[in-house]
């Protein structure tokens, strides 16, 4: 019973750390995919008197991924729908070229301003429209999400590390007599601490499995599937397993470092 309590006392903080880290991983993944999706949907409208080509624009701004000319018929059609009274055939001859310019990544506000200035300097370009307000809203929301998840990760990490440290200190006291006897017979530090490291590894394995099971369940729920699917975001079982590898390594690192710190803090027998 005492042994179970001891294990749980380490599993809980380790689980909290790993859960928070995995939450951060997933949020980062969602944001990264969301950014990619946004960059695919997002475009700058460029109006030019002369025809533009992709190499020409790429030469001035390498982040430009694609340009797409808007068919003038579409513009005429819209004017017709609005009932504007002009000679459409004549107008067609005078219309400038309209382009949708796509970027390779989702830009920051500064970067967007820079791109705007660069495009304005291109020969023939008369107008550049970035729809900054819409863009900034989305971008700031993403940054806010990232910051919040980092902040919570930090708090959980520090608190949990302290709990892990306390639990390993308790273990150390429980095993101090055995470690003392082993030291009397010349056992090196790693051998004296082998049992603590073994216990830590077992608890890290349990914590990692628990985190995996909970996230597997959460990501398979209808609600989250629909929510993520709506934004074309997918987190595969393979991604989750890969994360678990990192989490296990992190858990082991935390445990082993704590075991060593606690051991060094113990009074030396010589």
């Amino acid at each position: 019973m005492r042994s179970l309590k001891n294990h749980i006392s380490l599993i809980i903080p380790l689980f909290a750390i790993l859960f928070a880290v995995e939450f951060y991983f997933i949020i980062s993944k969602i944001i990264a995919e969301y950014e990619v999706n946004l960059s695919k949907d997002y475009s700058i409208i460029v109006v030019s008197k002369k025809p533009l080509t992709l190499p020409e624009l790429k030469a001035v701004e390498p982040d430009i991924a694609l340009i797409q000319e808007i068919d003038s018929d579409l513009i005429i059609k819209r004017l017709k729908q609005n009932g504007v009274d002009v000679n459409y055939e004549e107008l067609k001859n005078f219309l400038p070229h309209f382009y949708k310019v796509y970027l390779s990544s989702f830009p920051s506000a500064d970067m967007l301003e820079h791109i705007k200035q660069v495009l304005r300097g291109v020969d023939g370009v008369t107008r550049v429209e970035t729809f900054t307000k819409v863009h900034e809203k989305m971008y700031h929301f993403l940054i806010f999400l990232k910051k919040i998840s980092k902040f919570f990760l930090g708090i959980i990490f520090v608190t949990s590390i302290m709990l892990v440290f306390k639990q390993i200190e308790i273990w150390n006291l429980e095993h101090s007599e055995r470690m003392y006897i082993m030291a009397l017979f010349g056992a090196p530090l790693w051998m004296r601490n082998a049992i603590l490291i073994k216990l830590s590894v077992i608890d890290t394995v349990i914590s990692t499995i628990l985190v995996y099971l909970i996230y597997s369940y959460l990501l398979s729920t209808k609600y989250l599937k629909e929510l993520l699917g709506f934004e074309n975001i997918t987190i595969s079982a393979q991604d989750l397993l890969k994360d678990m590898g990192w989490l296990f390594a992190l858990g082991i690192l935390i445990s082993v470092v704590n075991v060593l710190i606690v051991s060094w803090r113990q009074p030396k027998i010589a």
Binding site: E177, A183, F185, G186, M191, A270
Partner: protein, 226 residues
Amino acid sequence: MSREKNVIIAKDLYLEYKKDVPIIKNSTFSIKSGSFVFITGPSGSGKSTLLKSFYGELKPKGGSLQIGGVSLNDIKSSKLAFLRKYLGIIFQDYKLIKEWTVEKNVMLPLLIAGYSKDVCEAQTKRLLKHVRLSGKENYYPLELSGGEQQRVAMARALAHNPVIILADEPTGNLDEYSSRVIWNLLEGANEQLGTTVVVVTHSIPNNLKVPFKHFYIENGTVYEIS
């Protein structure tokens, strides 16, 4: 550690726990390899403290102390761990690992020395027979009597064929029969294996067969009596 002529050499040895409160002072003595030595003295005279300094738990604050040619004055942890592999230590309270079986307790010095499992098992079996505990391999220390526990500690101390056995009141808690067994084992190690035996005790047994040296501690100073 080599089996040198003088296996323990102390010069003006000074030991203390608290600053400027000496437990052992101005003590110069040496212990020859292969000898059987008793250290006696009144309670609180510093017998166990002196023994602690021999296995490096207490470092000298003055003078010098050498075990097997290794200075214990400023010894590093790694070197001390190495030195301890050549020592066998026996305590009045046995100091067995309660969570381990008798077999694993005896194996401890062999495991530390890095022997293979087969060698450890064979040596442990032989030693348990030697200390008359065959068949108790899988018992835990608390399932044994005090005398049996001390015999397990004795087997552990002998397991790696140490150069020196350091015993702190090894029969202090034992009945006459168990005490006799322990003295026989210590005598056997000294006579047959040439192991140096240093015993801290209140009283020297009357019927010891081996020749021995006697050191006495009085007012913090170690005197060689015989």
